[in-house]
């Protein structure tokens, strides 16, 4: 069944493939990503670094690194194909429909421009009619992010902001565009613990106040579990399991999801474990299951047949020969 506008999804990725041509040969960070995001919902994606999380977000915005291209699959926004948008349509889609919050908050801001200039420019690019001065909107945008004295912050430059402040400015920037989907690329990774919690709370609160959807990626399962109602587990450029948070956190079906859960399940006195084996190299295109070399449940069929896609209903999906009901 093709998930399209018929089921009311805001964003649908089906079988998205990305290839980057580098000096040392092609790299395939995405090898068939399937994902849906519905209006107003929060979705999380978890996986080790290099599994294609960030690239998934970039493919949604069609922002490819040098030498990179979306080489297969479809990205659909409501009933439109994002891959077929022309330059003007793409410019409108970016920001107004989907906006992104970046991992490193300080480098995501132009060091030579004031906070005010950056927010005002984002406003102007995305709102055709402003009833009022854009500076007033910028001040309001900062106030929403709990800045006590927005006027002082507006006059500042990125290097004068702490990491937590810079990330709140980035969130304000993304929200200023008025998108119905926010992409968050590990937005709290560089921040200290207390700031992380604060920034996440603010992000959640602002996203739900605007009825926007949130697609949140992180290597930190706990951060994702805090924010997301539905969670996808990514491995080697594919979403290998997807389902509601409770299901994924308590009884995941995919062996990799289980292993990942074991890693973070820090009961008193236990040391965190790692998953044996090597992270897959993305220079290869995986015809069969990419996890089978590290998998405790490996069977003969894993080496013979491509991964089956089990659609289990209720947003649950699984890519594994074991099927949903193994012990």
């Amino acid at each position: 069944m093709n998930a399209g506008p018929a089921n009311g999804a805001l964003l649908t990725l089906s079988g998205v493939e990305v290839t980057i041509n580098t000096l040392s040969g092609p790299v395939h960070p995405l090898q068939g990503v399937d994902l849906e995001v519905f209006p107003g919902e929060t979705v999380g994606l978890v996986g080790e670094s290099g599994c294609g999380k960030s690239m998934t977000l970039r493919s949604i915005l069609r922002l490819m690194p040098p030498g990179g291209a979306i080489t297969g699959g479809a990205v659909e926004w409501q009933d439109r194909s994002v891959l077929d948008l022309d330059t003007d349509e793409l410019q409108t889609y970016r920001g107004s429909d989907v906006a992104m919050i970046y991992q490193n908050p300080v480098t995501a801001l132009d060091p030579m421009l004031s906070v005010e200039r950056q927010i005002v420019d984002a406003f102007k690019a995305n709102r055709e009619v402003l009833d009022g001065a854009p500076e007033e909107f910028a001040r309001e945008a900062l106030r929403d992010l709990e800045f006590g004295n927005p006027d002082a912050i507006l006059k500042r430059y990125p290097h004068q902001l702490s990491g937590g402040m810079a990330q709140r400015v980035n969130i304000a920037l993304a929200l200023a565009c008025g998108p119905s989907l926010i992409l968050a690329d590990e937005p709290t990774t560089g921040l200290d613990m207390t700031t992380q919690v604060r920034v996440l709370d603010l992000l959640e609160q602002q996203v739900s106040a605007r009825n926007a959807a949130l697609l949140f990626i992180s290597h930190d399962l706990r951060a994702v579990a805090r924010v997301a109602r539905n969670i996808g587990i990514m491995y080697a450029g594919r979403v290998v399991e997807f389902g509601p948070r409770e299901r994924i956190l308590t009884e995941p079906s995919h062996p990799y999801a289980r292993a990942l859960l074991d890693c973070v399940d820090l009961r008193a006195g236990e040391r965190p474990r790692s998953i044996p084996g090597l992270v897959p190299r993305m220079t290869e295109v995986y015809q069969f299951c990419a996890f089978r070399d590290r998998c405790a449940y490996r069977m003969a069929v894993c080496d013979e047949e491509p991964l089956p896609v089990h659609d289990l209903g209720g947003r649950r999906r699984l890519l594994c020969h074991l099927g949903p009901d193994h012990d």
Partner: protein, 336 residues
């Protein structure tokens, strides 16, 4: 500011020491067929018998009053000569930079935006050529190809004689315009004489193109690197992700962030060419301060050589100061 003064003082000291340790100017100014007594008298006149520290002090105090000394050969005050020759060099260097801004920077921007593209390859080719070829040779080649290689017509007409003399010097046997800025092109325009302005420009083109081809490659490369670094920075991707257009991102983010190193190098190139364009000045008979310094060296004329060194240093220092001011105005990180 204090640092700038210290730099200049150091230049004067080093320059003074070096020029004074390269032999005596006495024979050069008087010839060798003179008696010891005359030599001795001249040395006394010129203060050469004083201890070197006293000589330096004398020089420095005169320098601070704007007195650069007198040429021992022509007996013309050095400051007067420099007032004539510095504008000539400055005009040539200025047009050289203009020519570089026309090719090296646009091609550098393009090469940074689209590495491997056709224009990027053109720029890389020109840069490779420019660094591989000596400027004086390129200048001679231009003169030869354009003015001495007569166009050949089919027999029996044979080769035609070269139609035009090469544009050597600043003007072809015409009186210069009334001195205002010392730039003949500008002065001619001020005087309202367009023919003369064109004549001056015509004489500038070849030396400027020659110098630009050989001094422009670093500008091309730095521009390319700065632009491609800016393009790869997260804030540029973020700007795109907020739905800003290509042109906006290019001007607002990419060019702004790429400009400091390019600006720096342009100032350095200007300073370098003030003294470093000597060979091209000689090839094109350009009456500039480089040729003047060479003439001074040939004649052991201390004050001429030292004055050129000091003037070049002053220009460097002033340029750096201006560039610092511009960058200070542009980059908020420098203001804190």
């Amino acid at each position: 500011m204090v640092i700038l003064a210290v730099v200049l003082l150091a230049v004067v000291m080093i320059g003074f020491t070096i020029t004074r340790s390269t032999g005596t100017p006495l024979y050069a100014s008087l010839g060798v067929a003179v008696s010891e007594a005359i030599i001795e008298q001249r040395a006394e006149e010129m203060g050469l018998n004083e201890p070197i520290v006293v000589q330096f002090w004398t020089y420095l105090t005169h320098l601070l009053q704007g007195d650069l000394g007198v040429s021992r050969i022509s007996r013309i005050p050095v400051a007067e000569d420099i007032a004539l020759k510095l504008p000539a060099t400055a005009e040539m260097v200025f047009f050289t930079l203009m020519v570089s801004f026309i090719w090296a920077i646009p091609l550098g921007v393009r090469a940074g935006l689209r590495p491997g593209g056709r224009l990027a390859k053109l720029g890389e080719g020109m840069a490779q050529f420019g660094v591989s070829v000596p400027a004086f040779w390129l200048g001679l080649l231009f003169i030869f190809l354009l003015y001495f290689l007569p166009p050949r017509l089919p027999e029996p007409l044979g080769p035609l004689p070269a139609l035009f003399p090469p544009p050597l010097g600043r003007l072809g046997g015409v009186d210069p315009p009334a001195m205002v800025t010392g730039f003949y092109t500008v002065d001619a325009l001020i005087a309202g004489d367009f023919r003369l302005a064109w004549e001056a420009l015509w004489h500038l083109i070849l030396p400027a193109v020659t110098l630009s081809l050989t001094s422009g490659p670093p500008l091309f490369r730095v521009t390319r690197t700065a632009v491609s670094e800016a393009m790869a920075s997260p804030f540029v991707e973020a700007a795109y992700s907020y739905g800003l257009g290509r042109r906006t991102v290019l001007i607002r983010d990419v060019l702004r962030n790429a400009s400091p190193p390019v600006l720096n190098l342009a100032a350095m190139t200007f300073g370098y060419l003030i003294g470093g364009g000597v060979l091209v000045e000689v090839v094109f008979s350009w009456p500039g301060i480089g040729s003047y310094a060479v003439w001074g060296m040939d004649n052991s004329d201390y004050d001429v050589v030292l004055a050129v060194v000091i003037i070049a240093a002053v220009i460097y220092v002033i340029l750096y100061f201006i560039v610092d001011l511009i960058q200070f105005a542009m980059d908020p990180r420098l203001r804190d």
